[in-house]
Symmetry: C2
Subunit: 254 residues, 2 copies
């Protein structure tokens, strides 16, 4: 078991054929042995959803030296859970999801399937990172993010992360980024969220859309600010979501 | 606009026909005007998932004095978002999801569609509560939880909640509960999560299952402990999930 290379589990929510996950594999291969378990189709916006009403299945797609790739019919959380149960022969040293095609900063952390997979890795006690690029283009250019991704992953392998904390890393679209900012989750919400699509009989059809309204847009600590200003945004995320600061007051209610 | 009764938006993840949501409507009707927008079919384990690859639709199911009920093809988060956009004529005073058929304490907060809807209500700036009963029985007895649900909802209407904080309330199965405990999210994870189901060709089929392993089971502050010991567990939940305590150390990495 000595001198084993680090074992890295990779997943995403855009699915196994997305460019983002291919690029992520390429960036991380020099760091260790890679096992990929990714959805067989897009699962964007799947949050930490589980598949509970039907069985899921997986298949080997490709095997190479230091690289095994599987596709799975489940969500990103299913993928991570199932990889631990089936294809990983030891606990991985790192769980990485992405690179997502689209911004997962701010409140998007709650809706993101990429971050869902990361949260699951973190709950399993493994240092876990989500990487996202602020572009939905299928052929987006991930090259500028490559050196950052490799460096951040290497640092996390070396230093670890606190228990129940994971990283949400977002990249702006830029040939040259201005460096890294350690950030807070931007406050704000989505507005103009629905496009009226059609009416048929008594049914009203709507398509999810919308724009993010940053309610604290001048705050340089926000991940949204960092991205708007050309920085790589690293937001540390807690999976123990207890509001400890409200417990004492809530006690007085009853 | 004076003397308006409170407006309460209700959703769930077990779907519009579940007993839990009928019971919730019954318990909360005395407190105000009720609008229900709930999934047209079960969405258990849907977390804060969004529907992004197809349009969603909704239909009026029932209208009565102070009660409008709609069913929707989307997830709990979709239901809450769409209700705000379409059927609510003003910002509600309270968003309530449940009563869930099944325990949403501990790490289940991340996977729960019920809590997904609650998180969305909270992100929209409205005091939001999720109620869950530790029983998956379709015909579970919700009566013992009724007085607690009405009292907790009344207190939240009266006192509000801190911004970006919501409540995760879980009930044990008991004719008489021992009272309320204000709790922390139990540490722990799920083990033995997959039942091998079948093999067909190169595909391996698995069904999600598992049992919760509480890693801190003697800690009387845990919501899991409270439920095991017959108490109603109220866990305050943050939707700003930034790990503020790790920012300074992370700064030193780069």
């Amino acid at each position: 078991m000595e001198n084993q290379r680090p074992l890295i589990l990779i997943s995403n929510d855009d699915g196994i054929v997305a460019k983002g996950i291919s690029e992520l594999i390429k960036f991380l291969r020099p760091l260790g042995e890679i096992v990929v378990m990714a959805p067989n189709a897009p699962r964007s916006g799947s949050s930490a959803a589980l598949t509970v009403t039907e069985p899921i299945h997986y298949q080997l797609v490709r095997k190479d030296v230091g690289l095994s790739v599987y596709k799975c019919s489940g969500t990103p959380v299913d993928c991570v859970k199932l990889a631990f149960h089936t294809v990983l022969d030891r606990t991985p040293d790192l769980v990485v999801c992405g690179v997502n095609h689209g911004d997962n900063s701010g409140v998007n952390v709650h809706f993101s399937g990429t971050m869902g997979g990361v949260i699951e890795g973190c709950l399993k006690g493994v240092p876990s990172i989500g990487f996202s690029l602020c572009s939905h283009e299928p052929n987006a250019d991930f090259d500028p993010s490559g050196p950052y991704i490799r460096n951040i992953a290497r640092l996390v392998l070396e230093k670890g992360l606190p228990p129940l904390t994971c990283l949400n890393v977002n990249f702006p679209v830029a040939k040259e980024m201005k460096g890294i900012k350690i950030c807070e989750q931007s406050k704000g919400d989505w507005i103009n969220e629905w496009e009226s699509f059609a009416h048929r009989g008594n049914s009203h059809y709507y398509w999810l859309s919308g724009e993010f309204r940053d309610v604290d847009s001048e705050n340089e600590k926000n991940d949204h600010w960092a991205l708007e200003n050309g920085y790589v945004a690293i937001t540390p995320i807690k999976v123990d979501v207890t509001d400890y600061g409200f417990i004492d007051e809530l006690q007085t209610w009853f």
